[in-house]
């Protein structure tokens, strides 16, 4: 097997050394599992040939790009071959005429926007991990970000894909220049399929002009309930900001200890809002937004006067993730969604869970679209704590589902949530999804053990490694934020 793979990609780019396998056993989630072989193809054709060799031999294939998955998406729970896209990291074309770019899957999200910036354009989906995650991974998880509130998530910006099918065929699907294409929208179906149907080898994305001006506001609230009600009030005014982010008291304390962003320590919650537009409109919207915040219980509203002040306000938010280290050695990041109007009651229930269990839970999240990221603080060295934290996670996801929401807004189901998916889908729903998957992958060799409940290994077989700190696993550390 290894020899045949080396025939395709060359000696250097297929290996099975046990020590090296350990580098590919984890991503940014707590779960781990060892691959048997790692392959690093250099071209789409090589990917297709590697996939064919694997499926002919009934060997599972798991794709890995930036490995920033928080859901265990890249963890090869059934062993087999891990294909990483590290060498396929080129921007192939930037076409400002058609507002399109063509990229390989291994292109880092931020690198694309940086390349576009001198031309006056950018790629809108901006996951908080954008310095580490790739467009390929974003496509597989349908990633979101703070600014996807107004501009839409990955699928809204992808018009076509080239994919390697389990059969070893390389096909190009979707309208390359237009979002409307004849036939079923396979592009839309494949985005968010978490590598369980096909491997993405090339991506056609929309690009858009940079906004002339961005205005950022900080609004200070006595508690999260008042802040969440303000979010609903803002949405209701008809002004949809480009981003609405919320931080609760515990997060503010962590952030201030780490970076002195200037958030008031006695605040119960802070909202960060951003509007963009031509200068006079951004100014006007900023003022209108400030008024809505004040009318809805904000004790203080600060509008950034210049770019420096704006950056300072964002710095606290962006540093929130690493700042948590001030509070706890380990933390578990959740990802759930509720309708915006259900934010106050959901946050109150999460608070009650924290009271009852004694685990501290911080909330730093994309409030504008109801996408919660509760962070449960714990100590992995204490026996039983990790299991307790997983149970809390489960309870929170159940809450989100009951509120009419979802068990994941952007991180994906992956390995982590394949049982929780039952909170939002019936057996009938899952049966149709399974049928669709099998059209692509009849023998379940593409990223097996993900998304669907009950197949693959038992949850108990997945162990949190002692002494593991999530922060160590994440490339780039300081710059990353949830």
């Amino acid at each position: 097997m290894l020899a045949r793979l080396r025939d395709v990609v060359g000696e250097r780019y297929a290996f099975a050394d046990p020590y090296e396998m350990r580098l590919y056993q984890y991503d940014a989630s707590p779960e781990t599992a060892l691959p048997e072989i790692v392959v690093i193809p250099g071209t789409s054709e090589e990917v297709a040939r590697v996939v064919k060799i694997c499926t002919d031999a009934s060997v599972p294939v798991t794709a890995r790009s930036g490995a920033s998955s928080l859901a265990g998406g890249t963890v090869p729970v059934e062993g087999g071959v891990v294909i990483t896209f590290a060498r396929m990291d080129r921007i192939l074309e930037i076409d400002t005429e058609n507002l399109r770019a063509v990229v390989q899957p291994g292109v880092v999200n931020l690198a694309l926007s940086q390349a576009l910036k001198p031309l006056g354009y950018y790629y809108a989906p901006d996951p908080s991990s954008q310095g580490a995650c790739t467009i390929g991974g974003n496509v597989a998880t349908n990633a979101g970000g703070p600014h996807t509130l107004i501009y839409g998530v990955t699928v809204n910006h992808v018009t076509g894909l080239e994919v390697a099918l389990p059969s070893g065929e390389l096909v190009q699907v979707g309208g390359r220049k237009s979002a409307e294409a004849i036939g079923y929208d396979l592009t839309g179906l494949l985005v968010g399929s978490e590598g369980t149907m096909a491997l993405v080898t090339r991506i056609w994305v929309k690009i858009q002009p940079l906004p002339p001006v961005q205005k950022t506001l900080m609004a200070v609230y006595p508690d999260v309930a008042t802040a969440s009600n303000a979010v609903s009030a803002i949405v209701r005014t008809g002004i949809l900001p480009a981003a609405i982010e919320m931080m609760d008291k515990l997060s503010i304390q962590a952030i201030e200890a780490a970076s002195h962003a200037g958030y008031p320590l006695d605040a119960g919650a802070v909202l960060l809002l951003e509007v963009d537009g031509i200068p006079e409109v951004a100014q006007e919207l900023g003022e209108r937004m400030a008024k809505v915040c004040r009318d809805n219980g904000a004790s203080e509203v600060r509008i950034a006067r210049d770019e420096q002040e704006r950056q300072a306000l964002w710095k606290g938010r962006k540093g929130a993730f690493s700042a948590m280290g001030r509070l706890s050695s380990d933390f578990y990041v959740m990802d759930g969604v509720v309708p915006r109007t259900k934010l106050p009651e959901t946050l109150a229930k999460i608070d009650a869970i924290s009271e009852r269990t004694g685990f501290k839970i911080c909330n730093v999240f994309h409030a504008g679209d109801g996408n919660l990221h509760p962070l449960v603080l714990f100590d992995a060295f204490q026996p039983g704590q990790y299991e307790a934290v997983l149970a809390i996670g489960d309870e929170i996801l159940k809450l989100c589902a009951q509120a009419g929401g979802s068990v994941t807004g952007e991180h994906g189901i992956g390995l982590e949530k394949r049982e929780n998916i039952r909170y939002v889908f019936s057996d009938d729903d899952l049966e149709v999804m399974d049928r669709v998957r099998r059209v692509f992958d009849p023998h379940i060799l593409m990223n097996p053990g993900k998304i669907f409940p009950g197949n693959g290994l038992q949850p108990s077989a997945v162990r949190y490694p002692p002494g593991y700190s999530r922060r160590q696993a994440v490339a780039g550390g300081e710059d990353l934020w949830v």
Binding site: I182, G183, V235, V281, V337, V424, D429
Partner: protein, 420 residues
């Protein structure tokens, strides 16, 4: 396939001759009708059809029934006319859940009462249904700015021939749980299941709106000005280029051969700035600006123009932007045309007699990356045209998806791409 037993009793209700005629598709008549009351009812009905098996054509508002190849068989008209409820609507969440048979105009009225709207404007909203809009992927003039159906549908409930009703997506605006099966049904023309319920995002109605016309002697500068504006930060809500005949068909007259019609939307100051920018772009391209009062119905007429009745054939080309000047140069003189430059869409109305040669020419000019579809044609003309053109890449997967979800091929048989 074997001979269908004549003795088999078809499920469904008896149908009057008038109804038969109203529900004909490409001159084929249904034998019976079903009009389920809700999603589960639709599932039960479909199951009966599947057991027979009886060929089903789904009916929403019927505004898109001239799209697609003629059905291979047609036994049951499966109508969503009783599924018209607005099931949930929470303005502060900017989301709603509706039954597939709800008319677009009824939905827009309910949203409008709260100062909100769905920024999709398919033709004939007073007849078109939400399910039909999804199934036919009909996108109005705002597609370049506001996106298409796939950008606004956040959840779906679909009745399958197995009788089961399965959901995908959900009610929240951000959600990556499970596969995005919404995408599969958008534009599938009801060949994979009957869309029973749709969950949608909505938006606030913009504060301000304005219309501006720019007149040109040739198409190229009009298209170029439209593109320039569409690529700017203050992109118009609609930028369409109409030839003189199309403009006349939409109720206006002009001395110039080509007109760039711009709809500007946004905050008041944004619209002011966008107007200045548009005036500049039109003048720079050598055009003449007209800001005079237009009849309120102008944009409705442009919207409905692409869904003609009667003897007209509508061809739709979707092509790379670079191919658009060539395409607009190849239009026969008796045709009328509306171009949406930023979306790469060129709609042509041609007489039945010249449909075939025009289709052939436009297909060759649209190039490898272009697609040309017969979007509407009388049955007699359609039978002599290749409605969809060559099957797209990935077609074997599409056929396999059809086989997986509708194994007996009862749903809209033959109407979709490649005979699906």
């Amino acid at each position: 396939m074997g001979v269908r037993a004549g003795a088999t009793v078809l499920p469904g209700h008896q149908i009057t001759v008038d109804e038969q005629r109203r529900l004909s598709v490409d001159d084929l008549l249904p034998s019976k009708i079903m009009h389920p009351g809700d999603a589960e009812d639709a599932g039960r009905g479909l199951r009966l059809c599947d057991l027979t098996p009886a060929a089903v054509v789904v009916w929403g508002g019927g505004t898109q029934m001239r799209l697609g190849a003629p059905p291979r068989r047609y036994d049951i008209a499966f109508s969503t006319e009783r599924m018209t409820r607005l099931l949930e609507y929470e303005p502060a969440d900017l989301t709603c859940r509706v039954e597939a048979g709800m008319r677009l105009s009824d939905l827009q009225a309910a949203l409008g009462a709260q100062g909100q709207r769905l920024p999709l404007d398919p033709p004939h909203p007073e007849r078109a249904t939400v399910g039909g809009m999804v199934a036919a992927n009909t996108n109005g003039l705002g597609r370049a700015r506001y996106g298409t159906v796939r950008d606004w549908v956040i959840g779906i409930a679909v009745a399958y021939p197995s009788g089961k009703v399965a959901r995908a997506g959900g009610k929240v605006v951000k959600n990556v749980a499970g596969y995005d099966l919404m995408k599969l049904h958008i534009g599938a023309l009801g060949t994979l299941g009957v869309v029973a319920e749709v969950n949608l995002k909505v938006q606030a109605i913009p504060e301000s709106e304005a219309t501006l016309l720019g007149h040109f002697e040739t198409a190229t500068p009009a298209v170029a000005a439209g593109l320039l504006l569409a690529r700017s930060y203050l992109a118009p809500a609609a930028a369409t280029v109409l030839d003189r005949r199309a403009l006349w068909e939409c109720g206006l007259t002009a001395d110039w051969r080509w007109t760039l019609a711009l709809k500007l939307e946004g905050y008041a100051r944004e619209v002011d700035a966008a107007r200045d920018q548009a005036v500049g772009a039109i003048r720079d391209a050598g055009g003449r600006v007209e800001g005079a009062d237009l009849p309120a119905t102008f944009w409705d007429a442009v919207r409905d123009w692409s869904a003609p009745d009667g003897d007209v054939v509508l061809l739709r080309a979707i092509a790379p932007i670079a191919a658009i000047p060539t395409l607009s140069g190849a239009i026969p003189s008796e045709a009328s045309v509306i171009i949406q430059p930023a979306a790469g869409v060129v709609d042509l109305r041609v007489a039945p007699s010249s449909a075939a040669p025009t289709l052939q020419r436009v297909r060759s000019l649209a190039g490898d990356e272009g697609q040309v579809v017969v979007a509407s044609a009388p049955a007699a003309v359609k039978s002599s045209l290749d409605v969809w053109g060559p099957p797209p890449p990935g077609f074997p997967i599409m056929r396999a998806l059809k086989q997986a979800l509708d194994p007996n091929g009862i749903l809209n048989p033959g109407r979709f791409v490649g005979g699906i």
